[in-house]
Amino acid sequence: MVSQSLPNQYLADPDVQLMLQVTSGDNGAFEKLVERYQDRLIGFFFHLVRDRIAAEDMAQEVFLRVFRARERYVATARFSTWLFRIAHNLGSNQRRGLARRKEVSLAASAGPQNENRSDEQNLAEKSALMPTRQLDSKETQDIVRNALDGLNERQKMAVLLHKFEGMSYEDIGDVMDLKVVAVKSLLSRARGNLRDTLQQHLMDQGE
């Protein structure tokens, strides 16, 4: 086990231990971290920018930043919190850049589902053979995605970290550099907005 001069609570985190091994030059430990976190990071960025290739590029950039930071790494938080702090900073800058350049195309906003769907699925859709339930599901996905995109950047970040990463308010505060009370307020507004956008669809489904 790699240890630091001052013992702290975060050393119990196995991923912190892996990162400390990376600090000592263990490339195998870095590979394990990539394997453990790649899907979570790609998912996080995909929900943020709705472009699979961009999401993979951003996730790769996060791992590169982790590697570059290895020599000055100090365990001051759980590894996932530290990792998503880097991801949050990158995501914020990226979104600002995208907003400035207005490069988010409608094609990208259609998401990667079109790329990932099998030929059978596409054929079924074209021939109108897709079951109604599947169409409903796709429609629901589009509505939910649009509702999520309707949130402002900080609300969306907080929702993604809470809903998909299962982070506590305190961890979200660490990642986004906010006080817990600010996270509470941010998430309550976000959920209020989601409710306002989605409840009609919810009622329609209930009918």
């Binding site: 490339n27 998401g111 998430l187 409710r195």
Partner: protein, 193 residues
Amino acid sequence: MANDTKESTDTESDGQLVDLVSYLDGELPDDEAESVERQLTSDSVLRSDADILSRTWAMLDSLDEVSGSRQFTQSTLQVVSQEAKSQPVTRQVRSFRLLKLLAKHHVLPLFLLGALCAATGLWVVQSANDRRSAKSEELAADQIVLQDFDMLQNLELYQRVPDADVLKGLKLKTEQGSAERSTVQDVTEKESQ
């Protein structure tokens, strides 16, 4: 931001929504959670609102989970490996960047100017020292001249003397002359008395 200012619903205040959401997320302390539970028990509108909040939140589960492509891990490790290999080069580039930065902020020209000034100062001090030592040598020579000034005044006369015997003879004659002069003087004095 439009979403921030958007009214949530007419059924609850902002504080109530914050408490309700925090309660649903399990982020309220026990005493506050109990308070919200009491309100939910007694307020059907609030209860309905909590239900809608929960169900709309659950709708986010319908979004697809995205995972990395098969090549992602390998390509990431390759990128990192290249990064590790290029680090010494990066350091050289950083040094060059530092030099450019210094030049950009006129640090390098100022440094060169300072070095030039220092060299000039050294040269001036060295020249002054040289001049001072030359002057000291001149003063020492003058001192010697002053010490032997009497001899130097008669140097031409001394140079006419062929050798030391002439000088000795001259000395004897001088002594005899002065003895005669003193005898004549004594005689003269006695006669006058």
